[in-house]
Amino acid sequence: MKARVHVMLKNGVLDPQGAAIQHALGSLGFSGVEAVRQGKVIELDLADGTTEATIAQMCDKLLANVVIESYKIEVL
């Protein structure tokens, strides 16, 4: 089985990289880009039967820093 974990900075945490991307899009002439947030996607190949609870533990212990990041698990 496969799972995809989306890790994003929590709402309210300033994202300097997202702000830089927003600025660069503006410089390229794309108007109306009101906000950009940058995150990461982690794809996992897992033994069949791995539970979502186990994946959540992986996220809490390593894949995300829950002080500043939130995550979303997508089982594929």
């Binding site: 945490v13 300033l14 300097p16 990289q17 830089a20 212990k61 390593l62 894949l63 820093n65 002080v67 500043i68």
Partner: protein, 222 residues
């Protein structure tokens, strides 16, 4: 005082840290990141600056799961002292020994220069060699030194006098100009600036000597 310095494959301030501790009078050993135990009778473990595991995923995240870091956590939980500088600060936040997190600098650039710091509290073994309000100069060299924490954590740090150093002129966007924080028992200090690079007049300044000297004084008497 018995001190040890953790060495990761990408550490580059480990020997500077050892030199600074030895100059202050400590007995210093180096410990490899794959070691599962720290030397017996250790007073202080220092986690140095540099890089660890390519800083993949997040700075310090993989290092925080290494065997030696489990031993560092156990050492601190026994009441031992720990000092994390730069990447070491990032590692200590990732282990949960210190609150908050270090994000990419607000200006997105690597910053390498001397910065002015205000000593925010002298109430710790690390800062008792200074007076609160003293302004010192230490080098910084980091890309991810932008300290952040939620409002509740910040209020706790302020209320418990656990902010050790603040930037006189904020270089990286850190919340509340925070450059270094203490643990609840005040025995763990994490900071982005490098006191170990400010102990020799030939290297531009000696403001860091009071940190190591104060630490030695406190831990030798303990």
């Amino acid at each position: 005082m018995r001190a040890a310095v953790v060495v990761f494959p990408g550490s580059n301030c480990d020997r500077d840290m050892a030199v600074a501790l030895k100059a202050a009078g400590a007995d210093v050993q180096m410990v490899w990141h794959k070691d599962a135990a720290l030397p017996d009778g250790l007073d202080l473990i220092a986690v140095p600056g540099g890089f660890s595991f390519g800083d993949y995923l997040r700075c310090g995240a993989i290092a925080a799961q290494s065997p030696i870091c489990q031993a560092v956590v156990a050492h601190v939980n026994r009441g031992g002292y720990a000092l994390g500088v730069c990447n070491g600060f990032q590692v200590l936040t990732e282990t949960g020994l210190l609150p908050g997190a270090l994000m990419r600098n607000a200006g997105l650039k690597f910053i390498c220069k001397d910065v002015g710091l205000t000593v925010a509290t002298s109430d710790s073994a690390f800062t008792e060699g200074y007076h609160a309000g003293d302004v010192v100069s230490f080098p910084v060299a980091h890309h991810d030194g932008n300290y952040t924490a939620d409002a509740e954590t910040l209020a706790t740090l302020q209320g418990e006098d656990r902010i050790a150093f603040t930037y006189a002129s904020n270089p990286n966007g850190s919340l509340g100009d925070i450059a270094g924080v203490l643990s609840e028992n005040r025995r763990v200090l994490g900071m982005m600036p490098h006191p170990e690079r400010a102990v020799d007049a030939g290297h531009g300044g000696t403001d860091g000597q009071a940190l190591f000297g104060g630490l030695l004084g406190q831990l030798t008497n303990a």
